[in-house]
């Protein structure tokens, strides 16, 4: 059912109303903020709100828009500033400086969001509009989107909800390719995990990365010039329809099976075709803006639609906005003013431009690019103006349906939530003495959480724009050449191991940063920025909120502790998103899931490094001591069938040293191949370095278990028992595996010493495919290539069918 029309003249009676009456009134009007929030609205306005005002506050005060539970925690723990930060969190995307070429300062804009709830209900459209929304956040900064990524979390494909889970997997992947491929934004990767805790709440996180010259950054605010000359508010894009009405509030509550049908109308409808044309036309407008030296404001319409976008444009400048909702192009007759004001129809932007420039903008969108001919009802239209008094005024058919101070609307509210630590405990199983090493390696490689993601990424277009240097499956991060003809490279990776979240949310937060950083460094790129998307259950539950606080603390500590290379500054967290209420009415909450994206810079992209071994007879080095902790590891879960207790602790200082060493090696051209150690531990890392070579490069590895375990760097002695071997091979504590040519070993050792990293020379590459584990008790253990290839290439594919 679409929302019913309510006469605009109606107000919501709040003063002189009992709680019971008010509750009923709010429910009838489709408002789901709390009684105390409703009363606060009336207090702020000094009168009963109109229906339109009530809906605006309802949206702006949703968890999704206001960060009312999380804001204080984020502010306390996350470092957001560094000398190269142009714009931290607060607008649609964060921006950092990348490089300077010929006097031009090039910047990277990045935004990171979730589209979890919609994707659970309608996977294809939910995921597609996730991409659609995140790219708008970057485009509206004046940046061109040069890549997107999508970290995904799905339910157990073999569990009680297998059928629905597989439908969701298929629908989400399809939605991502259908939208992203058609829009023409390269997909640079992401990650995928499967766990039963996501059965009722899949996670679809989306990241968009853009390139913009610093002088051309557009702000989501009315320019100062509007104090002197008249400015129009222009709405451009799809005609406004009721789709997505209530989307922000829908994302801010738990999913209820019963309400699934009605919730479908809270999901927006994607149109990548229109978005593509809107984008090309917008850049035409921005070119003209640059040419004429005009000051404009530019903002995408996301959560809260027209009301949210236009009020924030005004509030950011301390100016007011007057919009006539009757002038908004609509897709259906008789839409009520609150629906026009708050619907979340996709593919729309708001521009504030000087009135004498308005005709040019309308001409480009409506005539040069013929938007009305391409998509029924699409157009650019003037819907209002900037006013001096800082008030937010909405009119509809001659009536004033909203009149409040812009500050009141946009300031939001906040809560201090209770946080209680969860009861934890239990036992961690011992590694059995008769554990078969080969079977364990194959079991880990074949786990859907470790196995090749080829089946997913083959559907994504990673090469449109012609900038791809390294694609998924080649290295730990995607690498692109963002500026045509220039040698600077950008690397991006996103990570977050949910099983650490289950055991220790602080470690999960810190590990998400550490792994994203390692993935970027493993390509030779130096980290310059982080973003986070924090996915949790209901924050009103003190244990969930405690998980959240701990994860944020972990992210903050790691961002500061790993820090910018050769600098005291943190790696700044420049953008992010909090997604609460990933919990079903049945009470199933997701594992605490902090997901972090890292952006890195390669000064010379020809120095990038990849995973696959290059030549036989080269040395294999291990960076990062194997600590033996197995809690939450793929081995513990897949092979021992338990989650365990003690996860690998993030050694933040070691991560900092290793990041510096690995990027030094790449810069000096000393690395032949490099892979970070994470899911599946050292065993999976070495296997992948063999599996990800070119098909005509036949290289295997002989690695010495005693050398991995030895106290001194000189090499190991004796043999290693199977239990100890498992702790060495499957521990997921942070580290890297490097292939170094014999002629470069001395130079590499100098770097290790200089950067004070723990390292061991653990073996050599060989001409025989497969892995030989030397110094195992009872003789060498061979892991055959064919069995590895079968397990690894089939493990995740099966769950996609």
């Amino acid at each position: 059912m679409t929302p019913t029309a309510v006469p605009s003249t109606r107000t919501i009676g709040i003063f002189h109303t009992t709680d019971m009456e008010l509750e009923q009134r709010l429910a009838e009007a489709g408002l789901n903020f709390s009684l105390s929030e409703a009363r606060k609205v009336a207090t702020i306005l000094g009168r009963d709100p109109t229906v339109v005002e009530a809906h605006i506050f309802n949206t702006m005060w949703s968890e999704h828009c206001s960060y009312k539970s999380s804001r204080g925690v984020l502010k306390e723990h996350l470092p957001t500033d560094a000398s190269h930060v142009v714009l931290g969190p607060g607008e649609d995307a964060g921006i950092v400086r990348l490089c300077e070429i010929d006097g031009k300062s090039y910047c990277v804009a990045v935004a990171h969001e979730s589209h979890n709830h919609p994707s659970q209900i309608v996977p294809n459209e939910g995921a597609a509009t996730g991409i659609g929304g995140i790219v708008r956040d970057v485009y509206c900064m004046g940046a061109d989107v040069i890549g997107v990524m999508d970290p995904l979390r799905f339910g157990d494909p073999n569990g009680p909800n297998a059928e629905r889970t597989r439908e969701i997997v298929h629908g989400v992947v399809e939605g991502i390719w259908q939208y992203g491929d058609a829009l023409g934004v390269p997909n640079l990767g992401g990650d995928v995990y499967f766990d039963r805790s996501y059965d009722d709440n899949c996670l679809v996180n989306v990241v968009a990365i853009g390139l913009v010259e610093e002088s051309e950054i557009k702000r989501s605010r009315v320019p100062e010039e509007a104090r002197d000359v008249p400015y129009d508010v222009i709405l451009v894009g799809k005609p406004t329809d009721p789709s997505g009405f209530g989307g922000a509030t829908f994302a801010s509550r738990i999913l209820d099976e019963e309400k699934t049908l009605s919730d479908k109308y809270a999901v927006q409808v994607p149109d990548p075709f229109l978005k593509r044309m809107l984008t090309v036309a917008t850049f035409r407008v921005l070119d003209l803006v640059r040419e004429r030296g005009v000051a404009i404001g530019f903002k995408d319409l996301g959560a809260g639609g027209i009301a949210c976008a236009t009020s924030e444009l005004g509030a950011a400048a301390g100016l007011g906005i007057r919009v006539d909702l009757s002038r908004v192009p609509v897709a259906e007759p008789d839409m009520s003013p609150e629906v026009i004001a708050c619907s979340e129809t996709q593919e729309r932007y708001a521009l504030v431009v000087p009135r004498d420039f308005t005709p040019e903008v309308l001409r480009i969108f409506n005539e040069e690019f013929e938007l009305p001919a391409l998509c029924h009802g699409a157009q650019a239209a003037v819907i209002g103006e900037v006013i001096e008094e800082p008030r937010y005024v909405l009119e509809h058919e001659g009536e004033t349906v909203c009149d409040a101070s812009t500050e009141a609307i946009t300031t939001g509210i906040s809560y201090v939530r209770d946080a209680n630590e969860r009861e934890r405990g239990g036992d961690e199983p011992e590694v059995p003495e008769d554990m078969g090493l080969v079977a364990a390696v194959l079991g880990v490689l074949g786990s859907p959480n470790v196995a090749s993601r080829e089946h997913v990424y083959r559907h994504y277009d990673g090469e449109v724009k012609g900038n791809a240097v390294v694609r998924p499956g080649e290295a730990d991060a995607g690498v692109i050449a963002p500026i045509p003809g220039e040698k600077v490279g950008v690397a991006v990776a996103a990570d977050g191991n949910p099983f650490l979240g289950a055991l220790d949310p602080y470690q999960a937060g810190a590990a998400a940063v550490a792994e994203a950083v390692r993935n970027v460094c493993a390509t030779g790129a130096v980290p310059i920025a982080l973003t986070d998307c924090l996915n949790f259950g209901n924050p009103e539950i003190p244990e969930v909120f405690h998980d959240f606080v701990e994860a944020v603390r972990g992210i903050g500590d790691a961002a500061r502790g790993i820090g910018m290379k050769d600098s005291d500054e943190p790696i700044p967290v420049v953008s992010g998103n909090v997604s609460f209420y990933n919990q079903s009415a049945a009470g199933n909450a997701i594992l605490p899931s902090p997901i972090v994206c890292c952006i890195g810079r390669l000064d010379d992209l020809s120095r990038h490094t990849t995973i696959g071994f290059r030549n036989e007879g080269n040395a294999i080095y291990l960076l990062g001591r194997r600590t033996g902790e197995l809690g939450g590891s793929e081995f513990m879960r897949t092979v021992l069938g338990a989650i365990g207790v003690s996860p690998a602790t993030v050694r933040i200082a070691d991560e900092r040293a290793m990041a510096a060493a690995v990027t030094d090696l790449a810069e000096r051209g000393l690395t032949r191949a490099c892979h970070d150690i994470s899911d599946g531990g050292l065993a999976a890392a070495i296997a992948e370095m063999i599996l990800l070579t070119a098909p005509d490069v036949e290289i295997g590895a002989r690695v010495d278990l005693a050398a991995m375990a030895s106290a001194g760097a000189a090499g190991g002695e004796g043999t290693v028992g199977v239990q100890e071997a498992c702790r060495l091979l499957f521990c997921e504590s942070g580290g890297y595996v490097l292939e170094i040519a014999a002629s470069d070993e001395a130079a590499a050792l100098a770097v290790f010493e200089e950067r004070s990293v723990w390292f061991r020379r653990v073996g050599e590459t060989t001409g025989e495919l497969g892995i030989v584990l030397a110094s195992a008790e009872g003789g060498d253990v061979e892991v055959p290539f064919d069995a590895m290839a079968r397990a690894w290439s089939g493990g995740a594919t099966e769950v996609m069918l």
Binding site: F273, E463, V464, K465, V470, T610
Partner: protein, 278 residues
């Protein structure tokens, strides 16, 4: 007005998304290039010396990929210019448009004789991306003059509808006889690609690109603009180009020519602007 360098128009139909990188590759091949709007004046379009229809999703692939764009007025103009012997290359969605417009195979000129059908792939559906190996079957067209017959060229594909099919009995055989089959999918060793994924979409007789009988209009599914520079080549690609990427240690080598650039150099060679084999 004298023109020293031939000018190429890369056509922008609504929904296309490879215009800019295609233009870059054309410029890299030594030609002048503009992106030309679908609703631009045809009297300006005829001033160009050649045309490239890039990839994307023109008109949202409504009805069938390429079918709406093929009805645009600008395509009539293109049809006439091709008749006059000007070169036209259609890449991916551009190829779909040329087929829908009856410009290729063009034996029965103006008639739709072939289609690019939905990919057939085991255990998959939808859009599929992969670096494929192509055998140059005809090295005389406006898109392959800079190659030698029998060359094995890696170029990536990215599409959901790229399977060359025809309902006309004997047409496919006739295309081979007429030398109108320009590119076929093959293995890295030039062996015919009989199976997925070497043949990435189930295309009839592994056809990846065809021309009109004169060879001045070529429709190809692979994207040469994504293989125009060495940096674009995957390091884990089979064969000499993968090895070359792995061996590249400085920016000069990385930004050197890639395996797909000769497609655009062929266009230049068509005007004598670039030497054969450039």
């Amino acid at each position: 007005m004298t023109k020293s360098v031939p000018r190429i128009a890369v056509l922008r139909f609504p929904g296309m998304n490879c215009e800019e990188e295609t233009k870059r590759a054309v410029v890299d091949a030594g030609l002048d290039c503009d992106v030309f709007m679908w609703n631009g004046p045809t009297e300006e379009l005829v001033e160009y010396d050649g045309y490239v229809l890039p990839g994307g999703f023109s008109y949202q692939d409504r009805v069938r990929a390429g079918s709406i764009a093929s009805k645009d007025e600008i395509v009539d103009c293109l049809f006439d210019e091709a008749q006059r012997g000007k070169p036209v290359i259609g890449i991916c969605n551009g190829a779909q448009i040329l087929l829908e417009a009856g410009m290729v195979p063009g034996i029965d000129r103006g008639k739709v004789q072939m289609g690019l059908a939905t990919n057939i792939m085991p255990d998959r559906d939808g859009y599929y991306t992969r670096w494929t190996h192509l055998e140059v079957v005809n090295d005389g067209t406006c898109a392959t003059r800079a190659y030698e017959r029998g060359d094995v060229v890696p170029i990536p594909v990215a599409h959901a509808e790229g399977r060359f099919v025809s309902a006309e009995r004997g047409l496919i055989e006739q295309l081979f006889e007429n030398d109108q089959v320009v590119l076929t999918y093959c293995g890295p060793d030039a062996a015919e690609a009989t199976e997925f994924p070497a043949n990435p979409n189930g295309s009839t007789r592994s056809i990846a690109g065809i021309s009109n009988p004169e060879g001045n209009v070529v429709a190809m599914m692979p994207h040469p603009e994504r293989a125009a520079r060495l940096y674009q080549v995957p390091s884990n690609l089979d064969g000499p180009w993968g090895a070359r990427k792995r061996a590249a240690r400085d920016a000069e080598a990385m930004f050197g020519p890639g395996p797909g650039l000769p497609v655009l150099s062929s266009l230049a060679g068509f005007f004598g602007a670039a030497p054969r084999g450039a």
